[in-house]
Symmetry: C2
Subunit: 659 residues, 2 copies
């Protein structure tokens, strides 16, 4: 008798909701527990699970759970965690569980019955859905309430005596638990530092704690490169650090003849891995939260670096949380829109309709929440509790704000596409079209040849941010797009983008309009600059004008800046998407490379279940794919790419240069 | 400096939601943990609390909490559970808390700042509301996650050797924890019995457990009168039992010349107290859940017996839970309606608008859920997951069911009245009126002179249940009401009401139409009958035809019947409301007594902040009130009752008899 692999199962989404709950309340600053700044959903206390099965012979099974509950079988109640004997026959079993600490989950592995996704689950709402499970939990001793991280020992590159103790340097940014073995009665202070300066500044370091005998030796996983151990008996303390990580493999690679570029790629990949955890984090020291704007960028990066949907999908579930929606995602209007748009892009790239089916009710509830707050012209405006964010840079945020309407327009279109995938009627495209018409009539400034942030303030303020998204999302085409490019994107008179968060959107837009060189220059200056400052992961922000510890200050605190921020990993996306030129399409991919000013590069990009290799040297692209559905586009014509064949294409860009 | 009493505070409703969560998952049967059969809401993980205050002088305070979080004050973060020193000045403080086990709550008691309801609370939804607190939690060591029950030692009236151990008899039904002190290595079985038979039947008793060394000596609070202790070393076991109870005083009393009636009152009061806990329970052995239908009756009874809004309001909060509503309250359509109607009756009787304000958003969400499931004619019909309950008796439940429309009509009217109290527009009365018109045109059967259960089945089935509610809620008046009374309520050809749950509604309706004697007869036969069977609390059901242990069987199980069920306390309501004749009105009360066939009675009934005493003897009522706003009604004229004055009224009923 051959049964499939037994795995722990639960109500779909609850695993993610629970671990997001834990994560959201793990932030610490200055020795305080720092609660998440928005509402965080909890798993339901109870769920029940059903399966009809036939036992060809008698047998015994046990419903293993860390929660409580009972089993209904054969007209009787049975206990969990105790053997249940059955005879051969047809059965309908119901497992009714509750867990007031974590979320209901259980495991059966026997000759007569196992747990897997063939069970149905119900959250006492009269709707049965397929149960969810994970191969990470496949033995009775497993516990889905414990996230399955991997660990590796870390060796300090130096241990330096300092006043009052010792300073450990682990050589590069890391994240993990530290075991502090110490003599009884010794009060020890631990100061974590992403920088040496931070670890040596016990007064201002973000992560720090004083340990007494009551505190366990094993300290919670935190971000650090340096660790200062202080106290009268600090010399009697043993510190053992481990890195906590997910074993996700890189599927993309990129190298070029550009100085430092290979190191930039490695820096970005390292940074991205450190922030790839239960979910995509903003940063590992701070906030250690899941922000939809940051996550949206991470989805794009992950699609190239990992081509693994798991973290993206966990992040979408966590960000969605559960209705009723009373505020926007992360309290930010734009972030609700990004979440829907990000889901759309994820589904377009992966075709994972089962996942879409799981989140669709909540997506529709979020969308209904958005609609419910629009004004009479269908514009997103600031309602009680709203944060119209866009970017930290200066924008005219007088309602209605153009940027919000552009992302709303894209969210309408995303809903239309997702509804089509779900086989539902399109109630969305008409809304998108009407909104577009209003945007074009209200926000387009003919004289400025671009969109203004607000048409009600009278300021006629033109910002890059707004116009970048008009191009990125394709709100305008033809002459109007050209006008936006000239009068906004490439207009040196406009205030520059100063945040790395929005810089990625700007670089995407520049690449989108073919200005690859500008992106390449920026990568060299910005990421190359950080490397030269000794960064071992990408910082939350970088200003080449600053020196020394100035780099570490932010938000009014000397070490307030995160030195490992996911949004800094954007070059991975830029290089794969625009230099190697690989984009995913429904059912396949497209290769339209542009070397910019690189004289050679060698890229591997995951596509479908395989990968495409794009090499460039001496004006010639060499392309090879292991996945079907690809086409090469040289700017004029498309060539279908057969699996396993080597293709050579002369670069139109080089030809143009050589002519 | 005189400050008010400091008390623990929390986000309003979370205390009730949390304790309802715990309660809902404490049911056990046959050694299994028996999860609640419907969705149970959880408290939110986090909340924040705000207060602006002026410190006239410097001082120190501590934010005491069993959860985690931080304090924002003076532009800095501060730790909880550590002293915070401030100088004289004006402050705005924010306390941001999370609690993944219970619910966020905290306590400050200092010269400069205390916690009380003057703080505002926010559940991260951008809406600040007054914080909630309770004088039951007013010291730093208190914990709102522990419900403040009282305990008293219980002494067994006998300890009898039985085969394999000993049988403890505590003399009457009780509920509480048992401490089982036993030698190491002794496996002991505890069999709880509401009856002697149950405690002696280890195979079929509902509550039972086997204790090993790992189990603590203190066993969770459970219902029992008898306790069998079994095992090889049972004789070395010490059993100490305590009763767990709430110290709520009876404010009503009733005695009469009727044999057994005083014992019936005591039996009912005892039963009601045992079921008055965190919330009004159905029964203490089983289900130990909060059912809206049962609670609705308990609200009415409690209004007379306790005149204390606390348990009623906790119960309403618990039953409402939190949106989104995906099924009806307890999964039952009628029970959603009862909850809204019960709230209306509570507000009418108490005028407690602050409480109404707290629950109003959820009430509106529940009402919207109800509306959302109506059919095109505004009828409540069975949707996925619905349970059209009404009663266990035989009804024609072909959609739409008349009974459901009558309670829906009353719910519309309740919403109208509540909205008026909230100063909101009336979107409800028109719905009530339209529904009434439909009911009268579709369900009224002219030939039968009564309402039929269904007009679509063609069966033209007339039941007491439906017509009782048409009278109770005043759907019909005049000749139509007379017709209902004759052709349904008093029609011996119709199937009788067989459940004690619905019997109370029938008795209320009989009293309402003046048939006090019938209610008195039933009390004597039914409750008197149980007393003669040795009941120490009122049973879930009673059939005089049964003998011995037959009485204890229900739901296919020999001891499935609850022997302590709240709905059995109805005589308290009947005697106060119809014999003493006291009803609460907006701003006062009304006394319209009817002795029925009692020759004398002596009643005290709480009204407002006082009580009214109604005595009857020799055809004369003597009335005295300590609360204002009362009137006496003799069937023809009303007489205002002044506080402190003695009134004597000759009974019209006696006069009629004497004439």
């Amino acid at each position: 008798m051959s049964l499939k692999q037994a795995k722990w199962i639960w109500y779909p989404g609850e695993f993610e909701i629970y671990h997001h709950l834990l994560l959201s309340f793990r932030r610490q600053e200055f020795g305080c527990d720092y609660p998440c700044a928005w509402h965080v959903s909890r798993p339901e206390a109870s769920a029940r699970f059903f399966k009809a099965f036939a036992a060809r012979q008698g047998g015994v099974f046990t419903v293993v759970t860390h929660g409580q509950g009972m089993v209904r079988l054969g007209g009787r109640l049975h206990r969990v965690n105790e053997p249940i004997a059955i005879e051969a026959g047809d059965y309908e079993i119901a497992v009714e569980l509750f867990d007031l600490n974590a979320f209901p989950s259980f495991f059966i592995d026997s000759d007569v019955l196992i747990t897997d996704e063939s069970w149905s689950a119900e959250a006492y709402d009269a709707v049965r859905v397929p149960a969810a499970g994970s191969p990470a939990f496949c033995s009775p001793a497993d516990d889905p309430a414990v996230f399955p991280f991997c660990y590796r020992d870390l060796t300090p590159v130096s241990i330096e005596p300092i006043e009052g103790g010792a300073l450990y340097d682990f050589g590069r940014e890391t994240f993990g638990p530290v075991r502090v073995t110490r003599p009884a009665g010794a009060a020890i202070r631990l100061i974590y530092g992403e920088s040496r300066e931070e670890a040596l500044d016990a007064e201002h370091a973000i992560l720090r704690e004083t340990l007494t005998d009551r505190d366990p030796s094993d300290r919670p996983a935190r971000a650090f490169r340096y660790l200062a151990v202080l106290g009268e008996r600090a010399n009697d303390v043993t510190v053992e650090a481990r890195e906590e990580y997910l074993p996700i493999e890189d599927k993309a690679s990129f190298s070029a003849d550009e100085p430092l570029l290979n190191n930039v790629w490695a820096l970005c990949a390292r940074t991205f891995h450190l922030n790839t955890r239960e979910f995509f984090l903003d940063g590992v020291k701070r906030d250690r939260w899941v922000w939809s704007g940051d996550a949206y960028q991470s989805f794009m990066i992950a699609r190239y670096l990992y081509n693994d949907p798991s973290v993206t999908e966990r992040t979408i579930i966590a960000l969605l949380g559960k209705p009723p929606y009373k505020r926007h995602i992360n309290t930010i209007n734009d972030y609700s829109a990004y979440l829907i748009i990000g889901l759309w892009e994820h589904i377009e790239a992966t075709g994972r309709l089962n996942f879409l089916r799981t989140v669709w009710p909540n997506v529709k509830a979020l969308y209904a929440f958005i609609l419910n707050r629009l004004d009479e012209r269908g514009y997103a405006v600031r309602r009680e509790g709203d944060w119209i964010f866009v970017d930290w840079g200066e924008l005219d945020k007088t309602d209605p704000v153009c940027f919000e309407q552009i992302v709303l327009w894209q969210a309408h279109r995303a809903m239309a596409a997702l509804a089509e995938r779900m086989g539902e009627a399109d109630e969305y495209t008409a809304k998108a079209d009407a909104l577009k018409e209003n945007i074009l009539s209200d926000f387009w400034d003919e004289e400025k040849g671009a969109f203004v942030d607000s048409f009600t303030s009278g300021r006629r303020f033109v910002t890059r941010q707004t116009n970048i998204f008009a191009v990125l999302y394709g709100l305008v085409g033809g002459e109007q797009k050209q006008s936006v490019i000239e009068n906004a994107l490439l207009n040196p008179a406009l205030p520059p983008i100063t945040t790395p968060y929005f810089k990625l959107y700007e670089l995407l837009a520049l690449c989108e309009i073919g200005a690859i060189d500008a992106a390449q220059d920026f990568i060299a200056a910005y990421w190359g600059g950080m490397l030269q400052e000794g960064a071992t992961s990408v910082w939350e922000a970088y200003d080449p004008q600053q020196t020394g510890a100035e780099h570490f200050a932010m938000y009014g605190s000397p070490y307030g800046k995160s030195l490992c921020h996911a949004w800094g990993s954007g070059p991975i996306l830029l290089l794969c998407r625009y230099v190697a030129g690989v984009s995913l399409t429904r059912g396949g991919f497209r290769v339209a490379p542009n070397p910019g000013h690189y004289r050679s590069f060698d890229a591997t990009v995951p596509v479908g279940n395989g990968e495409v290799s794009v090499k460039y040297e001496n004006g010639v692209f060499t392309v090879h794919t292991t996945a079907p559905g690809g086409v090469f586009f040289d700017g004029k014509t498309e060539t279908a790419l057969e699996v396993g064949k080597n293709y050579r294409f002369r670069s139109k860009f080089v030809e143009l240069t050589l002519e």
